[in-house]
Symmetry: D2
Subunit: 347 residues, 4 copies
Amino acid sequence: MSGNTFGKKFSLTTFGESHGEAIGGIIDGCPSNIELDLNEIQHELNRRKPGQSNIVTQRKESDTVQFLSGIFEGKTTGTPIGFIIPNENQKSKDYGHLADHFRPSHADYTYQKKYGIRDYRGGGRSSARETACRVVAGAIAKQIIQPIKITAFVSSIGNISLKKTYKELDFNQIETNAVRCPDAEFAVQMEELIKTTRKQGDTLGGIITCVVQNVPAGLGNPVFDRLEADLAKAMLSINATKGFEIGSGFSGTQMKGSQHNDYFNPDGSTKTNFSGGVQGGISNGMDIYFNVAFKPVATLMQPQEMLSESGEIITVDGKGRHDVCVVPRAVPIVEAMTALVLADFIL
Amino acid sequence: MSGNTFGKKFSLTTFGESHGEAIGGIIDGCPSNIELDLNEIQHELNRRKPGQSNIVTQRKESDTVQFLSGIFEGKTTGTPIGFIIPNENQKSKDYGHLADHFRPSHADYTYQKKYGIRDYRGGGRSSARETACRVVAGAIAKQIIQPIKITAFVSSIGNISLKKTYKELDFNQIETNAVRCPDAEFAVQMEELIKTTRKQGDTLGGIITCVVQNVPAGLGNPVFDRLEADLAKAMLSINATKGFEIGSGFSGTQMKGSQHNDYFNPDGSTKTNFSGGVQGGISNGMDIYFNVAFKPVATLMQPQEMLSESGEIITVDGKGRHDVCVVPRAVPIVEAMTALVLADFIL
Amino acid sequence: MSGNTFGKKFSLTTFGESHGEAIGGIIDGCPSNIELDLNEIQHELNRRKPGQSNIVTQRKESDTVQFLSGIFEGKTTGTPIGFIIPNENQKSKDYGHLADHFRPSHADYTYQKKYGIRDYRGGGRSSARETACRVVAGAIAKQIIQPIKITAFVSSIGNISLKKTYKELDFNQIETNAVRCPDAEFAVQMEELIKTTRKQGDTLGGIITCVVQNVPAGLGNPVFDRLEADLAKAMLSINATKGFEIGSGFSGTQMKGSQHNDYFNPDGSTKTNFSGGVQGGISNGMDIYFNVAFKPVATLMQPQEMLSESGEIITVDGKGRHDVCVVPRAVPIVEAMTALVLADFIL
Amino acid sequence: MSGNTFGKKFSLTTFGESHGEAIGGIIDGCPSNIELDLNEIQHELNRRKPGQSNIVTQRKESDTVQFLSGIFEGKTTGTPIGFIIPNENQKSKDYGHLADHFRPSHADYTYQKKYGIRDYRGGGRSSARETACRVVAGAIAKQIIQPIKITAFVSSIGNISLKKTYKELDFNQIETNAVRCPDAEFAVQMEELIKTTRKQGDTLGGIITCVVQNVPAGLGNPVFDRLEADLAKAMLSINATKGFEIGSGFSGTQMKGSQHNDYFNPDGSTKTNFSGGVQGGISNGMDIYFNVAFKPVATLMQPQEMLSESGEIITVDGKGRHDVCVVPRAVPIVEAMTALVLADFIL
């Protein structure tokens, strides 16, 4: 009800600020008697954390998930799975300068307006750090919904965009480069763009494409809880996202119906898949694919105008070391949220 | 839970197939003692119905909403508002030919796969007819959330797209033409395109832009029920939608952070509004604006291949008279869903 | 959220005031492809309606349910089942005298306090008339949860109470008398008590016992949504109820643990059943049985003090013809709510 | 959805087994800017824990709550409050003997049937230990709903029952004795009964009465989420409860309507309060009072028959040291659940 729970049958409720003692969550509705691969969960968490590459980010965090309940002798018991991820950096001194002013295009101002108080240290609840909890839950969901396979990758950073469809790409290449782009040539270009932009003290946005394979037909609950509606909500609930499109998406609006219609094969599959695997809000068994737009990072390494609580515009230097582009790190988050949506429909 | 309820505090639950006796819904959570303008509700419903123009559609329906409860002596009582909209065309003969085959890019196949049965008459539950109930509830929500003002319009049909931002447009022109485009010149082009496409027996998609003005800061419940997340879900829950973008959206992914950041004015407003009125999942008091992509209509006035239940590909002639482009008719639906999302956060 | 929906997976949302055009509801989550016996549903509704016996009640209503959706060619389609029950008596003249004063132990005062407005005709939303919608949904649930068998009966009216346990009773006798008591001797006594009390212009309360047989083990979702917790909520949501006890209930508090413990048979059944079929919030496969307390009817056929809106105590004559005791009529309502609870756990 | 969340607007989700690393929970929907008295919360937790008196229990636990989020500089921030209570006794050796057999009238059998697996150590999730999380959340709710005052006490243990109404009692005496009974004379009798029963290796049940004062009129959401319905659910969700009655309860069924009706005073209060502060599912401003029945403790200090997994009846000696009567310890739990229900309606 109050916004920190996702899902109904397989639900995740999270808590935690970036500089509190720990963040964490509760997964309710996980089936019993499932043998969880805990290393795989930690592996997913490692994919999300900063400091994996000198290209992508600069800070280092060691995120280690601790499970507190719901698992007994390696198997799920059907009871809620509670977990925490301790925060290593709880020093709040560094953020004291943010206590009384609002950064542009951050949540500082809106949290203050909504709640009349905010934990300003490191963005508090609005920090992307909370997404670590999503990755933990998503990693469990991934294990549950097998053999469904979810693969996300970076298809665009700034003005550099892959021109190929996902079927022309080699997914095995995604984790071979720091930008998680399954095309070596474009990956190099994206990395160069990130390096150049860093030198300018500026930041970048981009697009993640997500592909879901081996999907059974029948997932989605019209008329409101359509599969694509829940996916859209899941994606727009991730920090810094500004758009979602499934199948032919925005470009499909320019096609004629005769071009766009996906004609059937005798086995119920379709010759084309402009629908993106969803018709009438329900999966049809074809691959689901969609794009998610991320705005450029709002924290810059250059002086910026901010608003003080007393209503003055002040200029503040860029401090610390921040991501130039969070899109590669968001890949496991997009996958996790996709897994949560699917688990909720399957269970 | 089962997909036919939208909203938590101000909730709409709907029922009804296109060729049953009636469709309808229940609005729960409407505040008491509000004087409702019932004519205005019927007016919104009239905006949605087919047959308003010989350009847009060909069938005629007379949708009349009947309120059965929750209103006493013209005012809401705080109890649930039940309503029905009788269906005038319940003849199922015309649709007998659809009983045993699946149209491409319709919900015929997926409903059959999910439920093992379907009311095939006119699309049954998957028919866009159910959106009439959304318009009724949205019209009530609009009255409740005043002075918030929601304005949607057609910004693109096929390959014809408005080049202006919403601030350069005159919203008073929206209802002056059949395509609900607030630019007379483009409206004519769109109408021409529709006429041409009809002669080809083909169909069109398009984009609706929605603008919300007079929004208070503070709406949205992070981390999952962000304002933009709920708007995205609302939009993708509408028939035929394939995409949603807010603020700078997909094109914003190509901007640098220094360009994209919305710098403050001393009063808390921002000089630019690439954020689209939402930061950290919470409204900041600036205008909210977003785009919704609609695929071209799947029902064509030309022969098409379909799949029979027995697994044969058959060619079926286009029958009846259908919309070439539903985007103009979807304008009040987009507004209604927006109103439902906002009411749920405000109440 | 706003109180007019019961259940999550198999949910019922209702609307309607006693003197509006109709009451009705939407059932969402009903499985598809189930052949419904509509006569049986109407039969359950008939069991609830007033006017079945000159002993129990005095008014006559003809409640006929009309299904508007979700059923196609006699089978459920998996889409929401919308239904209405038209009100026959919409004349509001008779209730004008209630517009400005509050009856004791009715909802008049609390509705006015909560909503600041009320449809005073016949109790409006607070009228027991809304329970007709519960009976419709419960009758559908009963058909879905077969072979589970739910049997409720009157075990006490006023100070006349059955002394036998349910195992000593013949359920076939329940519908053979006007008070729905499965013991002929006590039934006569109860009927006599009702007649005598009517002459006094007074009213009676009583207790309904409900027994659920053929229950599978495993129903109930601890720690909060225990089977007995949801049953308790269901029962206390019925008009005029003041108590709920399951298994040994209040009298069990006086037993020692060594007496109360239900020792196992080798097949997992138990020798005694003081638990009432529920242990740790989950059904154990034994019969579930519970009691529900109903207060005496608040509307009397004698002069009573009431509170006027202006704060004066006035004496008003008893008007019309009312039930002396609603407990027999509540039997199908108790069964219906039980069925709704069970369906929600089973589906 | 899966049973471990209570409340909608002010919601508590819990996790944890009795012998895992920790139990804990997340409170979502707590208003911002409230200065919490953390000592008071710990104090409530101390009231619940075992080992407070040699009369009531024998084991010692030190429950210390650690808040991990949602509180900043002593005030709530409006973000979710995550907390854990570490378990001190995680040794599972002692419980190895329970791995393959089911205790009578415990949840062992039903958990195994439902989930096909269970953490048998100390009852796992079904242990009353999870109620500690309820007490934490309830203690926060209590601070939020001030000046509403919730007072629970033991009104009956075994066959010893207070004969006075709550108005004749001195609530200040409740915490002066080990059985939490506000009547010194009866308290002594109850303590004697507990001592005698312990010597017999047997156990006791009892009744808790709860009184809510300073309640505003208007709480409760008919028709399903009535105040008494949600209270009933809350109480029956507590371990070992078998019954709930509000106001006149079961004994009220024997009264005539003319006796039972609560006649008004000119200020809207009522001369009597058989309704228990609730009419039509909504609070009327009078005191709310209700009783909760607890069955005798199922764990005995004497040999008992149990069922082995292989289907044999075996006799097992009573081991360890257990509560003879949990009712006094349940007093703060009843208060906590009451506070959660009220907070959900008030916020």
